[in-house]
């Protein structure tokens, strides 16, 4: 039986359309304030949160090798923003984000059941560049979208595996050894989301947001024909603090 272990395209489309629906609402609400200039244009800030990563891979006939749908990780980093208008800003920065995944491999051999598993913890640095549209005075609602570039900094493999020659399980706990031919450490993709923010004192703003990091680069280099692509999609909930310069 063929196992399709991929993020359903309808969910991705739904999330994107939902995000697009927010854009005109925000813009329409802004119309009355469009001409109002910002008094401060630059902001810097920090952000932190958690993410759930979905590792998309089609395991074709290897149906007993199952990848968890989502795996939790952490996100933290800094941001820089430039707001030419009160409703519009351009943001960038850098975040350290974990895009983790898990594989279970359960099988029977001569009436004995074997259960193997591996959790991959992957640290990435992502640098987004995005446009943010905002509405509201005391509490602002935001919708944002853009692109990101990234780099796969580190991987770690932990779990167990079975040795038939020793007839026993062995624990696996090792750093991922990058293979220049196989591993594509450069990442590109799209990011989008929505959030809320508000000033707590004159120059300081706090906020929270949900966002997706949708990678469009395979984590493997195209080193062979018939390569089965693997993609990461991380959904993050982040909080942050900004300081307006």
């Amino acid at each position: 039986m063929r196992m399709i272990n991929r993020l359903p395209i309808s969910i991705v489309r739904g999330l994107l359309l939902g995000w697009l629906a927010a854009v005109p609402a925000v813009l329409a609400a802004q119309e009355e304030n469009l001409a109002e200039p910002r008094t401060r244009h630059f902001s810097i800030g920090i952000t932190a949160g958690i993410d759930r990563n979905y590792h998309s891979v089609d395991m074709v006939y290897m149906s007993d090798m199952k990848f968890d749908k989502f795996r939790t990780g952490s996100v933290y980093g800094f941001r820089i923003g430039y707001a030419p208008l009160k409703w519009l800003s351009i943001n960038t920065g850098a975040v350290l984000i974990q895009k983790n995944y898990h594989m279970d491999h359960v099988f029977e051999y001569y009436n004995l059941r074997y259960s193997l598993n591996t959790t991959m913890t992957n640290d990435y640095v992502n640098v987004p560049l995005e446009l943010k549209l905002s509405v509201g005075r005391v509490v602002q609602i935001h919708a944002f979208g853009g692109v990101f570039g990234g780099y796969w900094l580190r991987g770690h493999r932990k779990g167990n595996t079975y040795s038939f020659s020793n007839e026993r399980y062995f624990d696996v706990d090792e750093d991922w050894e990058f293979n220049d031919k196989r591993d594509n450490r450069i990442e590109k993709g799209f990011t989008w989301g929505a959030g809320l923010s508000g000033k707590i004192i004159d120059r300081i703003e706090v906020g929270a947001e949900i966002r997706w990091y949708y990678s469009i680069t395979d984590i493997q280099k195209p080193y062979m024909q018939n390569l089965n692509p693997r993609y990461n999609t991380a959904f993050a909930i982040q909080g942050g603090l900004s300081y307006w310069l």
């Binding site: 697009l20 854009v23 290897m62 051999y109 040795s163 018939n226 089965n228």
Partner: protein
């Protein structure tokens, strides 16, 4: 108005970006389990085996063959075979040459593709690994052994159904008067499969005399106080069951021995691998009385388990490997294709075809272009992660094979082994 136009443009760009974003990911290729396919033509047989090796071959990280180019270059050969029809049938020589082209240079020295040609109702086998430069003349080497001065306690045995003996053990004189060197030889490691009774294992049992718990017995040759050294001769031994190594070599150990690592493929990609797993041998609960120097005799026809034994002997301080560089086929494997459906690598295809090809007297028939690919399930490396596949293990003391001297009645490799054990160098 300008603002509204700007908003509409922004939305249009965002919508286009969304569609682009969703379609930016590549689709997975359509792949099939190469273990369970029926091929109706030369081309299908080629494509199936090519894909099977693509996904199931464990040496891709070391292999230098450009497998993708091989596909592009060889596909037209098989398409041309199919186009010829019955008027101009493909000859077996052409068929074999085409497959040699496909598989040439693969580093796995266990590798063999067994290919069924349904039009001629026959099978051919293609092995890309190098051939040993000579055949080991075991009969002559044993003949020389039997004429050695001072030889005693010779035990030899013939497994049921075989014409010649497969195993020998004896005692040879040591350095001092009364001292002995225990000698043991098996022409293959398949004790538990081919032996019908314990009597057939007489040389092995004389050598280490295991009790029911696998402990070394007091009557074992290797446990005698007068035995000061041990020779294990695996010249011409083409391998067999990995479990057999533990059965007799582990009996020589005083403590657990970590000899290397193995790994399997873990996914469809050529470079998807499991973690390296340690290969550890455990000694019997009651090992031999004291450490004795051990020499392993090897030659270019020592394959697989024999080579892993060489790696093992190199790991123990009282061990030395003497002879010639081994064959270079060190990847452990299970010929039964059941394991392919667990690890998705190693041997795949029709096991009946393998049994037909490797056993005289069996019959086989198949209307399809059946196949069986015999290839390593595991990659084996030593403690330094050095692979010996296609290279072989180099002995500590190199003594080249000399056919002329052997014919004349001198076994230089055995003499050098005895010299080392008697003099310590």
């Amino acid at each position: 108005m300008k603002t509204r136009k700007y908003i509409i443009n922004t939305m249009a760009i965002a919508a286009m970006s969304t569609l682009m974003m969703v379609s930016c990911r590549k689709e997975a290729p359509v792949l099939h389990n190469p273990n369970h396919l029926n091929c109706k033509s030369y081309t299908e047989q080629f494509q199936t085996i090519w894909e099977g090796v693509d996904q199931s071959y464990v040496f891709w990280e070391r292999d230098t063959v450009n497998w993708d180019t091989r596909y592009d270059r060889c596909l037209p050969l098989f398409q041309a075979f199919d186009a010829r029809g019955t008027a101009n049938p493909v000859t077996l020589d052409e068929y074999k040459a085409a497959w040699e082209n496909v598989l040439k240079g693969l580093v796995d020295h266990h590798f063999a593709a067994i290919l069924w040609e349904p039009n001629r109702k026959t099978a051919i086998a293609v092995s890309p690994g190098h051939k040993a430069p000579y055949e080991t003349d075991i009969a002559q080497e044993i003949s020389i052994l039997k004429r050695m001065p001072g030889i005693s306690d010779l035990t030899e045995n013939t497994v049921s159904g075989s014409k010649a003996p497969q195993s020998w053990s004896c005692l040879l004189p040591g350095k001092e008067s009364g001292e002995k060197i225990a000698y043991f030889r098996f022409s293959g490691f398949a004790f538990d499969e081919s032996s019908q009774s314990q009597a057939e294992l007489a040389p092995l049992y004389a050598f280490f005399d295991p009790d029911t718990a696998g402990n070394v017995g007091d009557r074992a040759l290797i446990n005698r106080d007068d035995v000061k050294g041990i020779i294990i001769d695996v010249r011409g031994n083409r391998g067999g069951n990995f479990g057999n190594i533990a059965m007799y070599i582990a009996s020589l150990l005083q403590k657990k021995l970590h000899i290397g690592y193995t790994r399997v493929k873990e996914g469809v990609g050529r470079l998807d691998y499991s973690a390296w797993l340690p290969t550890i041998l455990t000694p019997p609960k009651r090992p031999i009385k004291q450490e004795k120097n051990i020499v392993l005799l090897v030659d270019a026809n020592s394959v697989s388990c024999s080579e892993i034994t060489a790696v093992l002997i190199k790991c123990i301080p009282n061990g030395k490997v003497v002879g010639e560089r081994t064959f270079g086929g060190t990847g452990p494997l299970w010929p039964n294709t059941n394991l392919h459906d667990i690890f998705y690598n190693g041997c795949f295809g029709d096991t009946n075809l393998f049994n037909f090809y490797t056993n005289e007297g069996r019959t086989y028939s198949n209307p399809d272009y059946a196949y069986y690919v015999y290839t390593s399930t595991f990659e084996f490396v030593d403690l330094n992660y050095e692979s010996f596949e296609g290279k072989g293990v180099i002995p500590d003391i190199v003594v080249p094979y000399n056919a002329q001297e052997l014919k004349a009645g001198t076994d230089k490799q055995l003499e050098r082994a005895l010299e080392y054990l008697r003099n310590g160098n």
